[in-house]
Symmetry: C2
Subunit: 159 residues, 2 copies
């Protein structure tokens, strides 16, 4: 459950309007846990991680735990068609690399995050923290989280 | 662009509240085109269709064009790991079958559709028409469509 700082309840129903509720939503309020792998993991092991963790996107980090790549279910499917030696291909060969990675920060509004995902036609963004030398992955936002936010707006206001 | 029956404009901004706008949204307003394949298509050809059409889910129909199954990117990835003979496996072997398919109708509210997707943890629903003997697929709703709806609420009201 996300924190409801600044909400006032009258019985079950918050006084805040749907518009105000929507504007107040941030990436941090609806984020999921990021699943992170290292650059030399094989494509085979990456696919196993994807199923094990039940996510659609994996984030790839270097030895300093800084973001270097992103792997989607689509990337993994493209690589695995008709190939058997998936245990011999390291993920860094097929991943999308920095600086071509879209990301957001935890204080970003969910509206801006939704816009970024729609504009760039991607299903998931890492939430990052700027560190010396790169970006640390601290969360994950997906279209599932936006769907959850849409639904929570409706439910919070008994729509 | 979805029809705006019953909206009144004052300049760019609709007078309707965000709450009313949200309640009025239906599956039909935000749907995508469904991509449909037949039961005997091979898994290999299904994956090609998925990439060609750039969708996350394929709907499988019988010779009467009635819905018999659903195939997700996840189903296809699971099947393709470490196998080469994907052209020899027909999709009906690996698809999720009726009656285990969640679906919706075009007049359903987007709120109810979002709830169905979140409750059943699926990314996409076929929009169907009831026919004698089965269900005809007439559309598709995904979490991308819900994200678009979320964003359009914000943009319609200059949030």
């Amino acid at each position: 459950a996300r924190p409801r700082v600044g909400y006032f309840y009258s019985g079950k129903k918050p006084i805040q309007s749907v518009a105000d509720g929507m504007v107040d939503m941030t990436a941090a309020d609806f984020q999921s846990r990021p699943v992170v792998i290292t650059e030399n993991l094989s494509v085979y092991d990456a696919i196993c991680q994807l199923f094990l963790e039940d996510v659609g996107t994996l984030f790839v980090v270097d030895q300093q735990s800084l973001l270097t790549g992103v792997l989607s279910r689509k990337d993994l499917l493209r690589t695995s068609i008709g190939r058997t030696e998936l245990d011999k291909i390291p993920v860094h060969v097929i991943m999308t690399r920095m600086p071509n990675i879209m990301y957001c920060r935890k204080q970003d509004t969910l509206i801006s995050v939704a816009k970024k995902m729609m504009d760039s036609q991607i299903d998931s963004l890492p939430i990052i923290n700027e560190k010396e030398g790169g970006l640390e992955v601290i969360g994950r936002i997906t279209k599932t989280n936006i769907t959850a936010a849409f639904l929570s707006l409706a439910e919070d206001h008994d729509l």
